[in-house]
């Protein structure tokens, strides 16, 4: 028993040393890194992945940049596009706001093929939320204004601080599957780029007026958009509502 106890104690100490090594080496393996450090961190990778310790801890590093937001736009028969953007400051509690923020902010860090699938998911989810079978997603980069700009009287929310990149336009069938036309297929299969550019975007007319849709609304409230209630803050005139096309696709979202 004494021998077993002693052996256990030695084993526990070896584990402690290995654990500390793994924790300390995990950030080293995050790119950019040398092949040597990469190999060393590889030794700890299985352990760190299993115990969810594989983090770089690069908070606001190397340089804090602009924020990424995702803008969803759906066309309306009345000629007014409906727009939704996340993260939306109206989302409460703040932790939920940060979850949506990360959806927009982190997606660029994932492999391109995964990004494509995630954008598909975003498109499907928000098209359903906005009661449309067609949706255009845009990545919006909001750059922080410089000190000099603020001193000259500019504001953080000035339009020139925003830049837009169209990610694509999705059109869904009634069952929620994506209609992939020739143009879309050609682009979607090219996963070598970080994002899917889709310049055609014929479904959305940029020149028409845009209606903002707060993301903070519950999904079921959005599905019932045909009869909006004033207390959720949606200002949608009856002629702006969806035309009842059957893609409200309740099966897509289970909430």
């Amino acid at each position: 028993m004494g021998v077993l106890r002693k052996f256990g104690f030695v084993a526990a100490n070896i584990w402690v040393a290995y654990h500390i090594f793994c924790v300390a080496i995990a950030p080293v393996g995050m790119p950019p890194t040398s092949p040597l450090l990469s190999d060393v961190s590889e030794f700890a990778r299985p352990y760190n992945e299993f115990f969810f310790l594989n983090h770089g801890y690069h908070y606001f590093a190397p340089d804090p940049g602009g924020s990424t937001l995702i803008q969803c736009e759906v066309p309306q028969q009345t000629g007014r596009n409906k727009r939704l953007r996340f993260p939306d400051v109206e989302i409460s509690p703040r932790l939920l706001y940060h979850r949506y923020f990360m959806l927009a902010e982190n997606v660029g860090a994932f492999p391109p093929d995964m990004q494509a699938e995630i954008f598909d998911a975003y498109a499907r989810h928000f098209a359903n939320k906005m009661g449309s079978d067609t949706i255009t997603l845009k990545a919006v980069t909001h750059n922080p204004s410089s000190m000099a700009a603020i001193l000259q009287g500019f504001e953080l929310s000035d339009p020139e601080t925003y830049s837009y990149e169209t990610l694509g336009t999705w059109k869904f069938r009634n069952d929620g599957s994506v209609i992939r036309d020739a143009v879309f297929d050609a682009v979607a299969e090219d996963h070598s780029t970080a994002r899917i550019p889709f310049e055609a975007a014929p479904a959305v007319d940029e020149s028409v007026a845009i209606e903002l849709v707060p993301i903070a609304m519950e999904e079921n409230e959005l599905v019932q958009e045909e009869a909006p209630s004033a207390d959720v803050g949606v200002i949608v005139s009856p002629e702006d509502t969806t035309d009842g096309r059957s893609f409200s696709a309740k099966g897509l979202d289970h909430e």
Binding site: Y59, F60, A61, P62, Y97, F110, E117, D120, H142, H254
Partner: protein, 497 residues
């Protein structure tokens, strides 16, 4: 020549053996010395409450994020983890059971938070934390990383030892049966706290080093960019454009503080300041960037750096209770309250293991001629919470006694003439100060008839023997050695040769 080489070799070997033995002892003390479970209990309760809040917030959009065709499609996420050892039980939960499983998790985490069945619920809470995080990898941020870390260490150590329903039930049971209440201290508590401390050092160090890669942290613009980020900010901080030194100082201070945290925090004098700066930084993140969850969870980990006894007293004061004297004697009434153990005729070692750690404020005065020996003894005693001072000359002892009142004076007689020892012993005999003489065999023989020497031991001796003697003098013959459970007779022989 040969003799010189041989003696040098033997000397080096002895020194290496001594140093390695001390290193092993230091490692054991650092990681395994039993400590009070209060701070780990506090960390568990706070981490549990944050995890509970996190899950309750997930309740608001569970289907949107966790459904197989939600914002994080199940197949996509699984494929992402294909070559990885990451896992999540959510991979195996059908959509129709999402809510059921989720509320079950909420119930388990609530149990973990209040410390009910903590041994089991702490492990489950950890699995729940990483399962939620790894199911929605795109939605993760710092909060999830720190939650995972703290839950892991709460699962490793007995986090339900204090401030828990488990403890309350245990005390109730033992008081009903009139049996002794189990100790609140454990060596695994120390292990968990040490791992949290080290992990925090790693986090800050790499957070600081990663910032060095960015130009804006050198130019000082980085903090402005953070403050001017409208998606983060909850308070308008653009006024800092008129006082630019504020973001500049904040940027440089952040990098310096993060990089050097791993060094400065181990200095007991600097520790409160280091943690205060960190708390200010994280509260600032909460207040101005709206990330209260992340800011708070980082400060929760700071409790690992605090002294459990102090916190227990503070909490007792906060709730208007008297400090729990049976667990943590204060320095003021230490001597009056500590009684010799009712040691059983057998199994005394086992009994000793259950004795709680004793913190000692009164110091020990060492008379030792060789500085390196004095330093080694002081360091050893300090690790066992016995503060010590050392002086070189017999006159120094007398002058020291004029200004302070040590608990014990230890005289290491080696290198002192016997006559000086005799003179000092006679002087000390007329004072209330307790003395311990460590004398060579020859000195003991010469002074054996001297009544002034009440307690003596043979020198050279081991650190452990010296400590045992000191503990016996200060607290009674059988009174406790706090960490007997982890100690073995030490090879750390004290010798001037």
């Amino acid at each position: 020549m040969n003799n010189f080489i041989a003696s040098t070799f033997v000397g080096t070997w002895q020194k290496a053996t001594f140093e390695s033995a001390r290193l092993v002892q230091d490692w054991k003390t650092f990681f395994w010395k039993p400590v009070d479970g209060s701070t780990l209990g506090i960390i568990r309760a706070l981490t549990g409450s944050m995890l509970l809040y996190n899950l309750l917030v997930w309740s608001l959009r569970l289907q949107a994020f966790f459904a197989s065709d939600g914002l994080q499609p199940l197949e996509t996420v699984r494929r992402f983890y294909e070559q990885s050892f990451a896992y999540s039980f959510w991979f195996y939960v059908p959509d129709q059971y999402l809510m059921t499983v989720h509320w079950l998790c909420v119930a388990i985490v609530a149990m973990f938070c209040v410390g009910w069945q903590t041994r089991i619920t702490s492990v489950l809470a950890y699995v729940i934390t990483i399962s939620y995080s790894q199911r929605v990898p795109v939605a993760n941020f710092g909060l999830d990383q720190i939650l995972g870390m703290l839950c892991l260490y709460c699962a490793i150590g007995p986090s339900g030892l204090c401030f828990s329903v488990d403890r309350w039930l245990q005390e109730k049971k033992h008081s009903r049966r009139k049996t002794p209440i189990p100790a609140r201290s454990s060596s695994n508590v120390q292990l968990s706290l040490r791992l949290i401390q080290i992990h925090m050092c790693v986090i800050y160090f790499w957070a600081g080093v990663a910032k060095l890669k960015g130009e804006s942290w050198w130019t000082g613009d980085a903090m402005w960019r953070v403050m001017a980020n409208q998606e983060y900010q909850t308070t308008d901080l653009t006024w800092t454009a008129w006082v630019p030194w504020v973001p500049y100082v904040a940027a440089h201070a952040t990098v310096l503080w993060e990089i050097f945290f791993c060094v400065l925090v181990w200095n007991k004098r600097l520790r409160p300041l280091v943690l205060l700066i960190g708390t200010g930084m994280h509260f600032g993140i909460g207040m101005f960037l709206g990330m209260w969850t992340f800011g708070l969870i980082m400060t929760y980990a700071y409790f690992a750096f605090s002294d459990p006894i102090t916190w227990k007293r503070r909490l007792a004061g906060l709730f208007g209770n008297q400090p729990d004297h049976s667990e943590a004697p204060s320095s003021k009434d230490l001597r009056s309250r500590i009684q010799p153990l009712q040691t059983p005729s057998s199994g005394s070692l086992k009994r000793l293991r259950s004795v709680k750690p004793i913190r000692l404020r009164d110091h020990v005065l060492l008379l030792v001629q060789q500085p390196e020996v004095g330093k080694a003894i002081r360091a050893y005693l300090k690790k066992h919470d016995i503060p010590a001072l050392d002086v070189r000359q017999t006159e120094d002892v007398e002058s020291h006694l004029k200004n302070s009142k040590p608990a014990v004076v230890v005289i290491l007689g080696d290198h002192f003439p016997t006559v000086d020892i005799q003179s000092l012993a006679e002087k000390l005999h007329h004072t209330p100060i307790k003395t311990l003489f460590a004398l060579t065999e020859q000195q003991r023989t010469e002074l054996q008839s001297l009544d002034a020497i009440e307690r003596s031991m043979t020198y050279p001796t081991t650190m452990r023997t010296l400590r045992e003697e000191l503990t016996a003098i200060m607290f009674g013959s059988e009174q406790a050695i706090d960490d007997t459970a982890q100690q073995r007779p030490s090879d750390d022989r004290i010798s001037s040769s």
